[in-house]
């Protein structure tokens, strides 16, 4: 037989023990302190982000094809519906435009600032979604290089998507508001009643989010009303649309109400998002 250098081999029990302890220590460290996996993630994302970007493009092409076939009939019907809606909306828009000019005049009179300043935003592409079926966080292709920071708000088109939970040099993870672990302090636009919007996996399948602790003593909130982020939230900027009230029921304590809302964002087909480059605390 050949002579071999004596090689240190550990039996698998020891290897398991060592790594188990290592993992438990890491879990405790990351759970109890603010330490994040930032630097490690940066290294990993240099390899994976280009891969994911490439494959994702193939994926969206495939999805595009299959959806084209499935949805053609729907699209034709929808097209007519939408045309009607355009007429409707144009008239509505004209009225609103007039109101807007009036409002601008009045604001000037009262020397009010614009209520919601225009935030700087960065557009990013969704390049990967959670590897399992339990959570709803996803990775976008912009990172600290583009000025992104943890807790920045992410929006898409018409409403709130979520907030950034961790950032590496060229990618960032976003926690969606429909995720089971997400909570947002919100308010009803028309009545300014505060409530809490909580993602829920059970409701997620019906594309809904839970509302709870709504104080609506005058019974004014009805389905269809807009729900926006509240001033009292310490992570979300105020006034971003979350969705529309779907159902509202009085809780058993007779003081608060809870129910569901329909998110303004289509989370199933999320491809591009905008990140607002302003933190609430700043």
């Amino acid at each position: 037989m050949k002579k071999k250098k004596p090689k240190i081999t550990l039996s698998s029990e020891y290897v398991l023990l060592i790594f188990s302890i290592l993992c438990v220590v890491m879990i405790l460290l990351t759970f109890n302190t603010n330490m994040t996996a930032g630097p490690l993630r940066s290294v990993a994302s240099y390899v994976l982000v280009p891969l994911q970007k490439g494959i994702n493009q193939v994926g969206s092409v495939v999805t595009g094809w299959s959806e084209k076939v499935v949805n053609l009939n729907e699209v034709v019907a929808e097209n007519e519906e939408l045309k009607e809606k355009i007429d409707e909306l144009t008239t509505e828009n004209n009225i609103l435009q007039q109101d807007k000019y009036e409002l601008a005049r009045l604001r000037k009179l009262y020397k009010l600032d614009e209520k919601y300043p225009e935030y700087d935003k960065v557009a990013a592409r969704v390049i990967g979604k959670d590897a399992g079926n339990w959570f709803h966080n996803f990775v976008i292709d912009k990172g600290s290089k583009d000025g992104l920071k943890v807790d920045m708000n992410v929006i898409a088109g018409s409403g709130l998507v979520g907030r950034i939970t961790s950032v590496s040099a060229n990618s960032a993870s976003v926690l969606a508001v429909i995720d089971d672990t997400s909570n947002v302090a919100a308010q009803i636009l028309s009545t300014s009643d505060n409530c809490i919007v909580t993602g829920n996996l059970q409701l997620m399948n019906e594309n809904k989010i839970a509302i709870s602790k709504l104080t609506d003593s005058d019974n004014k909130v009805s389905p269809g009303e807009k729900v926006i982020t509240s001033n009292i939230s310490d992570k979300y900027l105020p006034g971003i649309l979350i969705g529309y009230v779907d159902e509202i029921d009085t809780d058993s304590n007779n003081l608060t109400k809870s129910g569901t809302l329909r998110p303004a964002v289509d989370f199933a087909h999320l491809e591009e998002v905008l990140v607002i480059l302003k933190l609430k605390g700043e």
Binding site: C23, A37, L40, A44, L51, N56, V58, S60, V62
Partner: protein, 173 residues
């Protein structure tokens, strides 16, 4: 050395597939768990130690990208690989029954543990709902995918083993 590189590339490919293309298939709501298939396969094909390492690689990837707490998935996948390693002596290359049973069990236990630690402990008690909508569909989908995917893994493993044998005999001469 070559084995390590091949295995790591396989894990990377599975991870990337799992969070891009497989998520984008419009007819299915759940994703098959390829990483569990790879981890468990290498566990019973190659033994505890290799299962452990493949599991660790898969777990670290998920931890880095999608987990708030670093180490949870590493630990979980590592134990899946390790425990599957106990069945190495019962494993025959041509038998498909044992791999299917082990992979099914692994994925089921994986789902249960995630439910217990990240949902049950936060007070989401409706366990039947989560079983019905996530754990069971995921297991079924994974098993269907495994029917094809397992052959691929076995093929890769056979190739690697043949090559290792060849280079070993060359060395003895």
């Amino acid at each position: 050395m070559k084995r390590k590189v091949v295995v790591i590339i396989l894990v990377l490919i599975c991870f990337v597939l799992q969070c891009t293309v497989l998520k984008a298939i419009p007819f299915t709501k759940v994703v098959p768990n390829l990483l569990v298939v790879v981890t468990s396969s290498f566990g019973f094909m190659r033994g505890k130690k290799e299962g452990l390492f493949v599991g660790l690689c898969s777990g670290i990837l998920i931890d880095l990208f999608y987990s708030d707490v670093l180490g949870f998935y590493s630990l979980l996948f590592m134990y899946i690989g390790y425990l599957n390693g106990f069945f190495k002596n019962m494993f025959y290359d041509d038998d498909i029954k044992l791999p299917m049973i082990l992979i099914t069990l692994s994925d089921f236990i994986y789902g249960c543990i995630i439910y217990i630690f990240s949902f049950l402990l936060r007070g989401r008690l409706d366990c039947f709902f989560y079983m019905k909508t996530i754990v069971i569909p995921e297991v079924i989908y994974t098993v269907v995918v495994t029917l094809v995917f397992y052959r691929l893994i076995r093929g890769i493993n056979r190739r690697l083993e043949e090559e290792e044998k060849r280079s070993a005999t060359k060395f003895v001469k």
